[in-house]
């Protein structure tokens, strides 16, 4: 009962907080206290709302925002799948060979520190201005944090699980799939979370820096709005980015967490 009440209070507090922010925004927008640039920095909520709808109906250059979103999502998904698979394979191999583990551990530590954007010039030289560049950056964004978490998770597997596994006849790959992977579940989930967050940000940044004519994405859309001083549309697109992020967070990642580590009582 008490925790329910606490929950209700926290929800109300957050709703009030958001409404207050919107009210302040609208007041600033209407007062025009920032002078001539005021309407650029603070377009009214009404304008942003209209722009939000316009983005989807009219879009830019005759193309709806939906198409831009779809393009981004396609590249993002490709990169995520490749990155996550690679993380599973390479981290799994690290459990088989100690030498491989040492080498991969070093690789992960080094590349985890490199922002994808900093690699952009090199990657463009290699691939040219093509979709592969974006996919590469997404893979880069997700592979290292995911691998770091998996390696840590494997190494933190309690010895008793490993021995229990061996006692029931598990060896080699069986031990990895039957014991190490599930035992590292909470690490893998947090790897997914940070990998996704980095990939999503990396994707938008890369798209803003260079647009690919053959498959323009959300980042390019924002940039176009900026160059054309369509600031209401730009804010509306930022909103879309936040909404997609929230959907992934609560529609995909959260259910994964609830149905695995939480159900198993394994959250730290």
């Amino acid at each position: 009962m008490n925790s329910k009440k606490k929950h209700a209070v926290s929800v109300i507090a957050r709703v009030i907080y958001v409404i207050a922010l919107l009210v302040i925004w609208e007041c600033v927008a209407r007062s025009g206290i920032l002078g001539p640039r005021s309407s650029l920095i603070f377009p009214s909520l009404e304008q942003i709302g209209e722009a939000f709808i316009k983005n989807f109906i009219k879009g830019y250059a005759g193309t709806s925002l939906w198409i831009y979103i779809a393009n981004s999502m396609k590249l993002l998904l490709t990169g995520l799948v490749i990155g996550i698979l690679l993380a599973f394979i390479l981290s799994g191999l690290s459990m088989v060979s100690f030498i491989f583990f040492k080498i991969y551990d070093l690789t992960v530590s080094v590349f985890d520190l490199l922002p994808g954007i900093a690699l952009l010039p090199v990657v463009i030289i290699i691939f040219g201005v093509r979709e592969e560049v974006i996919v590469f950056l997404v893979v880069h964004a997700v592979l290292w944090p995911m691998s770091r978490n998996m390696l840590d998770g494997f190494n933190a597997t309690p010895r008793i699980y490993v021995e229990a596994g061996k006692n029931m006849g598990l060896k080699g790959a069986g031990l990895i799939f039957g014991v190490y992977l599930p035992a590292a579940a909470s690490y893998i989930v947090s790897g997914l979370k940070s990998g996704w967050a980095r990939a999503w940000r990396g994707l938008i940044s890369a798209e803003m820096i260079f647009g690919i004519a053959s498959s323009p994405g959300i980042g390019l859309f924002i940039n176009q709005m900026r160059t054309n001083m369509n600031n209401a549309e730009m804010y509306a697109t930022l909103l879309v980015i936040i909404i997609i992020g929230v959907i992934v967070q609560y529609g995909i990642l959260r259910p994964i967490e609830v149905n695995t580590v939480r159900k198993w009582g394994m959250t730290k």
């Binding site: 309690p158 008793i160 014991v179 159900k263 198993w264």
Partner: protein, 259 residues
């Protein structure tokens, strides 16, 4: 010894090497355990009881030999199944029934339904079939230990190794589990090697009792003369308790008074 024992340990020597140097934990240990025996091992802390079980289970490297039914065993296998003292030996990502069924499915080729059936039967024997769909984190310590025992029963492991499985339980749960172990050892054919610090537990459960000194030196090794079920009021309990206590604490046996 006329017949070959089920478990034969010969010249078992275990040396741990760490920063501080070498440490001989077990030295030239010979031990035979007969089929269906309930062997209780007592011994001071650090004398190598856990190490012996881990060697038998195949978790450690050692010199000497461990044979089951005349065949040497160095690797872990389900013919020697370990029940650990640690409650967290169940896989938290599997339900209770799946914790019991999983080792089965790895080792026998049978339809899923049959495996579930056998797992459920084992859970029944430890009185936990009602919790089959719960996850380990929803169980108490005593219940977790029961599930761990059910795993061994379902596998029909000829040898069950138990390293102080009830040591961390409260007295009431502990005596409940002792009763269960008694009835299991009476109805099943498993051979059980059971380590404990508790003299009473050894007398109640064991059909044979061993007391270890340092380096796995055997100070006492006798069949339990008492008729089951044993209570502290049973005839001869006091004498046996004294004898074991003395062996445990003085490291030697009292001079036996000849009759």
């Amino acid at each position: 010894m006329s017949k070959e024992a089920l478990l034969q340990i010969r010249d078992l020597t275990k040396i741990y090497t760490d920063d501080s140097g070498e440490k001989t934990v077990l030295k030239d240990l010979d031990l035979d355990v007969e089929k269906s025996e309930f062997l209780c091992i007592l011994g001071p802390s650090g004398c190598g009881k856990s190490t012996l079980l881990r060697c038998i289970a195949g978790f450690e490297e050692y010199s000497g030999s461990v044979s089951v039914d005349g065949t040497q065993r160095r690797e872990p296998g389900i013919d020697r199944f370990m029940v650990f003292q640690d409650f967290n030996q169940l896989f938290p990502w599997k339900t209770v029934i799946n914790n019991v069924a999983y080792p089965l499915s790895l080792n026998i080729k049978a339809p899923k339904a049959e495996i579930k059936e056998r797992a459920l039967e084992a859970l029944n024997k430890v009185g936990l079939s009602g919790c089959k769909d719960q996850y380990p984190h929803q169980l108490s310590g005593g219940m977790k230990q029961r599930v761990a025992i059910a795993k061994a029963l379902a596998l029909r492991s000829p040898i069950i190794l138990m390293d102080e499985p009830f040591a961390a339980l409260d007295a009431m749960t502990r005596s409940g589990l002792q009763k269960e172990m008694l009835s299991i050892s009476e109805s099943e054919k498993n051979t059980i090697i059971f380590i404990t610090h508790n003299i009473q537990e050894a007398i109640i459960l064991g059909t044979r009792i061993l007391v270890f000194g340092q380096q796995g030196h055997i100070l006492f090794d006798e069949k339990n003369p008492m008729q089951r079920p044993v209570t502290p009021a049973s005839e001869g309990y006091g004498e046996l308790w004294e004898e074991l206590h003395h062996a445990l604490y003085e490291g030697s046996l009292p001079a036996k008074t000849s009759k």
